[in-house]
């Protein structure tokens, strides 16, 4: 298998297979079902049921009644997809056509591109389960995620209308402010890991226990105990900045439905709106994946054996590989649930409160955290 890896077309085919599997078979359905999960969980929190039934309208084709499958509401994302496909895609006359058409693409593509460096599994069939095993993993994530801001800003600007304009402006200032905390809070983690490569980050956590829960490898040293404090602070600051980056409540000023009609995507309809909508959830998934990889040990299940390149080609190795992939997405799903939980609990921040939090509090805390981590690392070598 190692020899096969040297053949270029095999490498290309393997990458394409991993990309297809990850993006089309996992992430896009996950995005749709995250939307459905949000509707259901938010409904349950508000003491009501969400969409719990879907009928396939075969009565349009002459049958007597619509088809009601036992799935309950699970067909709702399919209904949403069909709606987006069949709706009229309207471009208003007063918009800047070039940027209007470009903006949704700029919102969706960076979110999906960041998933290229996320290791979503261990070795399987001799392949590392990451689409692009680059040595600048986390740097790539931050760089590409920053392009996502352009989507929102261009949407707000090109819509040539009051409410999208305000939404775009708020989005640009908010995302710039929290980019700093995002990057700075990841620095202590990278200092501990010693490597920007995300697959190596998980290898470190397999050996030494998850960064956030250092006891998952069975032993707890003094170094781990001391480092737990900055890692915890880093986790909290990173998560809060991730909320701000993905425009999720309590930081959802750009698209605040109660203030700005629909914010930056007011003038969009059908597929372009779907790209914004799904792009937001894809960004959530990307953010949750990064948090999982950096802090929660990625695909690692405590006390379960880990595949090596050779053992991954056997049958039990394949099963183990599948368990690891499932564990990764289970952790991502848990984090998404927390995203949804926090959205439906907290009220929105006022703009000045948001700026104050980003520049005066999170930025300082992240900076000080770097020095604390450096001190501890120097102390407990």
């Amino acid at each position: 298998m190692a020899l096969l890896n040297d053949i270029p077309w095999f490498l290309i085919a393997a990458s394409v297979a991993k990309t297809l599997f990850l993006i089309f078979l996992v992430v896009l359905p996950l995005v749709s079902y995250t939307v459905y999960a949000e509707r259901r969980v938010s409904a349950l929190i508000q003491d009501r049921l969400g969409p719990n039934r879907t009928g396939f309208p075969i009565s349009l084709f002459g049958f007597k009644k619509d088809l009601q499958l036992v799935l309950g509401g699970l067909g709702q994302p399919i209904a949403d997809a069909v709606k987006f496909l069949l709706k009229e895609d309207f471009t208003p006359g007063h918009v800047n056509k070039v940027y209007f058409w470009m903006a949704p693409v700029l919102a969706m593509v960076p979110a999906l591109s960041t998933l290229a460096v996320i290791p979503f599994g261990n070795y399987m069939f001799g392949q590392k389960m990451v689409v692009a095993d680059v040595n600048v993993g986390i740097l790539y994530v931050f760089a590409i995620a920053s392009i996502g801001v352009y989507g929102i800003v261009l949407a707000g600007w090109s819509s040539n209308s009051k409410y999208p304009f305000l939404g775009g402006i708020r989005a640009s200032s908010q995302m710039i402010s929290y980019e700093l905390s995002l990057g700075l809070s990841a620095v202590p983690v990278l200092m501990i890991l010693g490597n920007l490569n995300l697959a190596d980050a998980i290898d470190y956590q397999v050996k030494n226990g998850w960064l956030l829960l250092p006891f998952t490898d069975g032993k707890l040293t003094l170094r781990e105990l001391l480092l737990w404090v900055p890692v915890l602070i880093s986790f909290i600051v990173f998560s809060i900045s991730m909320f701000a980056e993905t425009n999720r409540l309590p930081f959802d000023l750009p698209e605040s439905e109660t203030e700005l009609v629909a914010g930056y995507h007011t003038e969009y309809s059908s597929m372009k709106f779907a790209l914004f909508f799904l792009g937001e959830y894809a960004a959530m998934i990307a953010g949750s994946s990064v948090i999982t990889v950096l802090f929660l040990g990625g695909w690692h299940v405590p006390f379960l054996p880990v595949n090596t390149l050779e053992s991954s080609m056997t049958a039990p190795g394949a099963v183990l590989g599948l368990i690891h992939i499932t564990a990764f997405f289970a952790k991502v799903a848990l984090l998404l649930g927390i995203f949804i939980w926090i959205r439906w609990t907290l009220p929105r921040f006022r703009f000045d409160q948001l700026m104050k939090l980003g520049w005066l509090y999170l930025f300082e805390i992240a900076l000080v955290n770097i020095f604390i981590t450096a001190g501890i690392l120097a102390l407990v070598r």
Partner: protein
């Protein structure tokens, strides 16, 4: 004169908002758990569960025309309901009862009686004003149709929905 609002002094932890955030998260989690465990009373799931059995006596559904116990249509097309209807949903064409008819004494009956259900607001004023007690609001509330023409209830449909209601007052008593 500037009036300074007295704000309460917050403790350090209160200023952080973190305890309140955690308390809020606990509340939402409690609601979620209660819903999943089935402990919360959920509103009824229409159309499997309906409240038709519990509709009160005075419930105002769709207006209908009624016949009396002798099979005569009670409406005499006096057009009072048409004039009092606030959205002007009722349109009546008055007609004459021919002399050979057994109820010729009544003299008038509607030739055409249309209620546009897209205009009807179910206020019940037509029922209140009718001197013949001919128009009644029944308990039917889910009035749907696939075209505007279908949503206009004509006389036949109104009598079909209304049925029979015996006279409370024998106004047109044949013995008189």
């Amino acid at each position: 004169m500037a009036y300074t609002v007295r704000r309460p002094n917050l403790t350090f932890w209160e200023k952080l908002y973190l305890p309140n955030i955690i308390a809020g998260l606990a509340i939402t989690l409690k609601h979620l758990r209660k819903m999943l465990a089935g402990e919360t009373h959920v509103v009824m799931q229409y159309p499997e569960e309906k409240w038709d059995a519990h509709l009160p006596e005075y419930y105002r559904g769709a207006p209908t025309l009624v016949m009396d116990q002798h099979g005569r249509e009670k409406c005499v097309s006096c057009q009072l309901c048409e004039f009092i209807c606030p959205p002007r949903a009722i349109k009546i064409k008055p007609g004459h009862i021919p002399a050979e008819n057994e109820f010729a004494k009544v003299e008038k009956a509607p030739e055409a009686f249309d209620i546009d259900m897209t205009r009807c607001i179910y206020c019940g004023l037509c029922e209140e004003v009718c001197p013949e007690q001919a128009i009644f609001l029944r308990k039917e509330y889910a009035i749907t149709g696939e075209s505007r023409a279908e949503m206009v209830h004509d006389k036949a449909k109104l009598y079909e929905l209304g049925g029979t209601m015996p006279n409370l007052v024998h106004k047109w008593n044949p013995d008189k």
